[in-house]
Symmetry: C2
Subunit: 262 residues, 2 copies
Amino acid sequence: MQLTLVKIGGHVLDKQDTLDDFLSQFADVDGYKILVHGGGKKASAISSEMGIPPNIIDGRRITDEATLEIVTMVYGGLINKNLVAKLLSLGCNAAGISGADGNLLPAHKRSHPTIDFGWVGDIDGFNPGILDGLLANIITPVVAPLTHDGNGHLLNTNADTIASSIATGLARRYAITLVYCFEQKGLLRDIDRPNDVITGIKEHEIQPLIDSGVISGGMIPKVHNIRESLKNGIKRVILCHALDLKKVLSDPDSGTGTIFTL
Amino acid sequence: MQLTLVKIGGHVLDKQDTLDDFLSQFADVDGYKILVHGGGKKASAISSEMGIPPNIIDGRRITDEATLEIVTMVYGGLINKNLVAKLLSLGCNAAGISGADGNLLPAHKRSHPTIDFGWVGDIDGFNPGILDGLLANIITPVVAPLTHDGNGHLLNTNADTIASSIATGLARRYAITLVYCFEQKGLLRDIDRPNDVITGIKEHEIQPLIDSGVISGGMIPKVHNIRESLKNGIKRVILCHALDLKKVLSDPDSGTGTIFTL
């Protein structure tokens, strides 16, 4: 069975027009599908309104108790439920969950030799029951980037990792197309030329692109997740602009976006 | 099949010790079960922190756009996901949803001849698919008091009504025990005597108790929901203290709580 798993990044969530257009395209995708969403600027905005300063140590944002409360509210509540309401209005029967619900993605608090990241989760496993239950009833899961530690505590968890963990977890039972949608047209040869997209990359070509600096900064962890997905049974991962979703799915050979294969 | 549907009110959510004890009792309930939760004071506290004043017209709290955003965050995110994490830590495989998810409880914005309540939902229907999907996978739904209007907008919705709507919707397929847990020991003969509980009431005895003033204030809408449940196929509705859940379920004839029957 075919299943399309789409991850939508934070930047797109912050632009209502783009988001609405993206959601229309997602609602029109045929067959089984899952949407994983990131955070966006709303959490920072709410933090500021509540007078909670960002807790940044050595240049890294730390999920302290107050920040966890904010992301639980914003990712798990505000963003997740509004995506669901919008999809329902577009005729897509959606349900909002997180990586904690139904123990979908058991996790543990990240431990690091020098940095205490706070309530950040690293994923340990995968329990498909909740997705099976929803998909069997023709309901599209919309997944917020939260997990839990098994001891009653929620954990802030990277949405790209949530998406690749679900994709690889389901790969034995579904033919999965994994699509990372964001604000660029794909993997760029040069960050200053937004239309100069590398249209196809084999897994073994990734490391040289990192070594040469073509893949850098925030793209490195994203590409790391893509590599993990390819190594764990996902045959094709697409990285594209949110508004190119329909195009990349309907015409994979159009040269739109970047297609990663083994 | 037996199904226990428990609604937990806002006051209990505000007391962590009581809440933890209640959740332990709920986690131990055998068989199919569903938890519906209310709001609590957290939404007001977050509103204050964000500098959003309560919008009260003619003594009624109005769900304006800013308030809806708060309740979506607090009910749908903060409270819902923390209940789920806690239940998971107690060995109860829970999943947090709302009345919007999977189009569980289609609703419309309340219209009133003189008062604009804002984004408050009145329920129009019931789609069991999401509950079927979760229960079939031995996952306990935890339901936040939000619905949607079909046009992409979320709606703040009374949790008692959510509970009775789900109960009556499932009544054809399950033998349902509906339990409203709150901070009192049941329906009191006299509000000043917290141990003077009316242990059993028939549906036809309710109206005289309203007329005589025994049932008054906030108990009237609560009892209205209980009546509706009885008229729509629920054979027994229990109103009890949150910490008496185990007792009322294990020994229904113990004289604990108030048992409503047709």
